[in-house]
Amino acid sequence: MSTTISIDGFTAWLDAFRTRVTENKAYLTELDSAIGDADHGSNMARGMAAVMDKVGAAAPSTADELFKTVGMTLVTSVGGASGPLYGTFFLRFGMTAGSVSECDGPALAAALRAGLEGVVARGKAEANDKTMFDAMAPAIDALDSALASGASLADAVAAARDAAAAGRDATEPLVARKGRASYLGDRSAGHLDPGATSTAMLFDALAEVIAA
């Protein structure tokens, strides 16, 4: 179990995320059918397929290069709400990670936090708006506090994964205030948020890769 995550680790993370959204494409689209427009699964699958193509071709050697490619590819291939949001997340992540070939726990946490801030800057979501924020923010909070209390990187990321999953589950009863689901008013309650669900997959993928 390593204490850092390398470029290969990042690439493995992205690949594991791609696998999850591809395998769960129909599921994510079904969640988006209930309270959105039935495209979150195709959006994420299309975007992550494009990302892995680009990353495979460019083979970047530093985090900033890698995640700039990831972010720009998502921005230019996804569209919708998730394109700019996940795109901005990875762009900011890369800018904060910087021109390095690996990140330790605090560096990873800082990059993730910058990504979250990018999402907020773009989408203005707050807690309990029933968006990806509701999985992402608790995950990063959990990562921070686990690291602060001396947990290993693997344990800290596992805590982040669990917090993301809990945050995803907690979106179910919420009435949406951002994104398409907000148009449904009270009818949005009783359904998981698709973006929070894909974000939980992002942290699940990270935990798997770090644990490997």
Binding site: A38, G80, R177
Partner: protein, 332 residues
């Protein structure tokens, strides 16, 4: 799922080839998925760029042409296009007088157009302004939410503002007009059936035979509420009353659109228009101009929407100005 397509993945690319073949007055950039006028407008006039997810045809591509848009960016079905598409279109159509982005108010569309405007501003060469259309009274407007959706009014706005741009008005004037139109129009829609997104392969929602969705948008999303199916006159009331409750149309002339969602035949749209016109007349509202047909659709959804725009002589004369696009054409 029964559709005339080759595969869910190639719907947009294949449809763009058909559009290109059908309309010699348009030019299609397949790489960027942008539809342009074949003949760009005069230098020194403001250009209009719109775009959004596909599946709303003829919006927006069908409104590219003289008197309306200069370019339309096509996203995947129900997915807003990406900033790079919009930026390419913006640079391409700028005739030195600036570019207006016409954006329907959806989180995705707004964010992608925002990023495109940021990119364009970075190049510091194109003056980009944006109008965000948000006319759907089905959605409560609030500072704390994503606000109202942009729906039917987009068609009327593209026509009217397009005519003004064609006249040579400045970007600021064009923006002011667009804001005015956006402020003075309201829409409300309903669905008899769900649509089927090709990539999803099945209807977005199930709707029993005796129910309808009131307050839908144009992305096959469920509406504000599910209510018992009613006859046309009562459906018309449920569409018109919220519009009249939201905006005072005073004694102004109006432009009214009765729009089909894609799967409803014209005979029913005319029938609904008759009901809507009757209700408006009852309220003392004058219809100066109207449109009945499929103008901003939601794939194969059965249903319709009503848009009412408070107009004045200037707006009516911009409406009447010549237009030559696949979707709207008169005066040439």
């Amino acid at each position: 799922m029964k559709k005339l397509i080759n595969s869910p993945e190639s719907v947009l690319a294949d449809a763009l080839r058909g559009i290109e073949a059908a309309h010699p007055d348009q030019r299609v950039d397949h790489e960027n998925r942008v539809i342009y006028r074949a003949t760009p407008k005069e230098h020194g006039t403001v250009a209009l760029v719109s775009g959004g997810g596909s599946g709303h045809e003829p919006l927006h591509g069908g409104f590219v042409g003289f008197g309306m848009l200069d370019a339309a960016c096509a996203g995947e079905v129900f997915t807003s296009p990406t900033p790079d598409q919009m930026q390419a279109a913006t640079k391409e159509v700028d005739r030195g007088a600036g570019v207006l982005h016409i954006v329907k108010n959806y989180t995705g569309d707004v964010m992608n157009f925002e990023m495109a405007a940021e990119l364009a501003a970075m190049e510091a060469s194109v003056d980009v302004k944006t109008v965000v259309v948000n006319d759907d009274v089905a959605v409560q407007d609030s500072l704390y939410t994503a606000g109202r959706r942009g729906v039917g009014l987009t068609v009327l706005l593209e026509k009217i503002v397009g005519a003004a741009a064609e006249q040579g008005r400045s970007l600021d004037e064009v923006v002011a007009l667009a804001e005015k139109v956006n402020g003075d129009g309201r829409s409300m829609g309903m669905a008899l059936t769900s649509c089927t997104v090709p990539a999803a392969g099945k209807p977005t929602f199930d709707l029993p035979d005796d129910q309808m969705e009131i307050g839908i948008g144009i992305h096959g999303e469920p509406g504000r509420q599910r209510v018992p199916l009613a006859d046309a006159s009562h459906v018309a009331e449920q569409l018109v009353e919220p519009i009249l409750a939201d905006l005072d149309f005073g004694g102004a002339p109006t432009i009214v659109m009765l729009n089909g969602m894609g799967g409803t035949p014209l005979i029913e749209l005319y029938l609904m228009y008759g009901e809507v016109a009757r209700i408006l007349e009852k309220h003392g509202i004058t219809i100066a101009r109207n449109l009945v047909g499929n103008y901003i659709t939601s794939l194969d959804m059965a249903g319709c929407s009503v848009t009412v725009l408070r107009a004045d002589d200037e707006i009516v004369s911009l409406w009447d100005a010549p237009v030559e696009t696949p979707g709207l054409r008169w005066g040439r």
